[in-house]
């Protein structure tokens, strides 16, 4: 019983102390509120806090921090709202409202910029992951292609099986080109959308990744021309269609580099101008290697089709060779539209329609190797050649001859009959 009583007293005492403490605290706060503040200190504190916030706005580096500063500005505004008149007099000609508004505007702009950069950072990270995946896939494809090439060259398999392997090999090459095109699209879309004014910030944030080749998309981009040249050098006998497909890839790559190459080197390279120059030279060498192979393959195709066209090594020479061939054929057919000239025309027309127009022309136009106007000219001249080359029909001559023969025979028979009946009359 006594214990319980003591407990009760003790609890009451603790409660009383707590109440007293609270009351004193409140009273102190009220008293503090009631005691007039120094006007000087109020405006000095305001100035100091404004200055501190201005410095924080200058150096803020994340959108989260910017949010926090925004809240502090709002808090400052609330806290000093009652002293606006005093602060206006102290800051004259500036005003309290101007200072707060200016600060709010700056933090708002900064916040938007930081949020955009963080978004772009995230996009860049995702792109880097995707590019690394592309890189791995490309390496796997290249390895598979190399293995296939070796297998094909050393193959002791039968004709059909060999054909299948060759076909598979060509499919791998095509996949490689498709992969590069997809990669180029990704690069262009991502980097083109990065605003120019954000590049210095991104550059600062990514300065470490310049030296980290494992995560550096520029490394992969730089490797594409070199690997493509290597592929071309090692490959002797691809069809023109394949070289034309590679031309498309080259064209897209060059366009991509033109659009975003400068930005990429600024972000990812310690020596941007040197890297930019190197890549441009690689692009030029790639183009030359590709052109050399392409024109040689096309010429070989013409020759295999028994079309003895003049050799060519560029787009203009290609067109001139075609035009000359057709004009010469046309002239020859006009002179002598015999079987030989007709066969020459037929060979050319078949090749032109089935191979050139059927398989090459779309990519040739897309990669500016021939224009529509030139295509139309060759078509027109080929048609002219067709109308001249077609041999004349001998049927009329045959019919005429047979008619003359028939008339001669009939005439002879008639004469004989008349002669025979005349003799019979004389003897009777």
């Amino acid at each position: 019983m006594r214990y319980l009583a003591n407990q009760y007293i003790r609890n009451k005492w603790i409660a009383g102390v707590m109440m007293l403490t609270f009351a004193l605290t409140v009273a102190g706060a009220v008293q503090a509120q009631e005691q007039p503040q120094s006007d000087y200190e109020i405006q000095e504190n305001f100035r100091n806090q404004i200055e501190t916030l201005q410095q924080q706005v200058e150096t803020v580096s994340t959108s989260q921090e910017a949010d926090s500063i925004r809240q502090r500005i709002a808090s400052l505004e609330t806290h000093y709202a009652d002293h606006e008149s005093l602060i206006n007099r102290a800051l004259y000609p500036e005003t309290y409202r101007e200072k707060i508004t200016q600060l709010k505007k700056r933090i708002s702009t900064t916040h938007k910029r930081l949020a955009r950069i963080e978004q772009q950072d995230e996009t860049l990270k995702q792109l880097t992951i995707r590019l690394n995946n592309y890189s791995k896939r490309l390496i796997r494809l290249d390895n598979r292609t190399d293995s296939l090439k070796i297998a094909v060259s050393e193959s002791k398999k039968t004709g059909d099986e060999l054909q299948q392997e060759l076909e598979y090999y060509r499919q791998q090459l095509e996949q490689r080109d498709q992969l590069i095109l997809s990669f180029i699209d990704s690069v262009v879309i991502t980097y083109q959308n990065l605003g120019i004014d954000s590049m210095p910030d991104i550059e600062n944030r990514l300065s470490k990744s310049r030296l980290s080749s494992g995560e550096n998309p520029l490394q992969m981009i730089r490797s594409i021309p070199a690997e493509s040249i290597q592929l071309l050098d090692s490959e002797e006998s691809l069809a023109p269609e394949e070289y034309l497909r590679m031309k498309t890839v080259h064209q897209e790559y060059a366009a991509m580099w033109n659009k975003v190459g400068h930005k990429l080197t600024e972000v990812y390279s310690v020596n941007p101008s040197q890297v930019e120059s190197e890549v441009q030279q690689s692009i030029n060498r790639w183009e030359k290697a590709l052109n050399d192979k392409l024109w040689a393959a096309m010429l070989a195709s013409f020759r295999r089709a028994d079309i003895d066209i003049r050799s060519f090594e560029n787009a203009d020479a290609f067109y001139e060779a075609l035009e000359t061939y057709v004009e010469q054929g046309l002239a020859a057919s006009r002179k002598d539209s015999g079987r030989k000239s007709y066969e020459q025309y037929a060979r050319f027309a078949d090749f032109w329609n089935d191979r050139v127009k059927g398989e090459w022309i779309d990519k040739m136009i897309r990669t500016d190797l021939i224009t529509n106007a030139r295509l139309v000219t060759i078509d027109r001249k080929t048609s002219d050649w067709a109308s001249v080359a077609k041999p004349e029909s001998n049927l009329f001559a045959y019919l005429l001859g047979m008619s003359v023969l028939a008339i001669a025979v009939l005439g002879f028979l008639l004469f004989r009959e008349k002669s025979g009946s005349g003799s019979k009359k004389k003897t009777s």
């Binding site: 008293q31 005691q35 007039p36 120094s38 006007d39 000087y40 200190e41 405006q43 005093l86 007099r89 102290a90 004259y92």
Partner: protein, 125 residues
């Protein structure tokens, strides 16, 4: 004409006792007033001088540790002492002036006391 200064000026004296309020175009030496307080002008012992101009044009000057507020009238090339108002024999603790035209409020923050001061005298709030 209202000469009232919206916020007090707080200035640390120079080594020679010079007080300069650039914003309000005022420059004087604190040593005479320091002498009034300490009878010593061999060195500048006044830490921060606080001054404010009232609506009538009089300057009110004091400092931490001073017992008095000095009411000064501006004259040609000088400030003339008009009134010496004793506030605290122990010395003001962390004083501050607030402009409350037509009077000036003096805060003695060490003792939580406030006064109304004019060129004519003082009244505790």
């Amino acid at each position: 004409m209202n000469y009232s200064q919206p916020v007090e000026t707080v200035v640390t004296p120079g080594e020679d006792g010079t007080i300069e309020d650039v914003r309000h175009g005022l420059r004087f030496n604190i040593l005479p007033l320091q002498f009034q307080e300490t009878q010593d002008t061999s060195t500048v012992t006044t830490d921060e001088v606080r001054l404010i101009r009232g609506g009538s044009g009089y300057y009110y000057i004091t400092a931490n540790g001073y017992s008095n507020v000095y009411v000064m009238a501006p004259e040609k090339h000088k400030l003339k002492l008009v009134r010496k108002i004793t506030i605290s024999e122990q010395g003001l603790q962390n004083p501050a002036f607030n402009q409350r035209d037509p009077y000036v409020m003096l805060l003695n923050r060490g003792t939580n006391t406030t006064y109304r001061i004019t060129e004519n005298g003082i009244q505790q709030e």
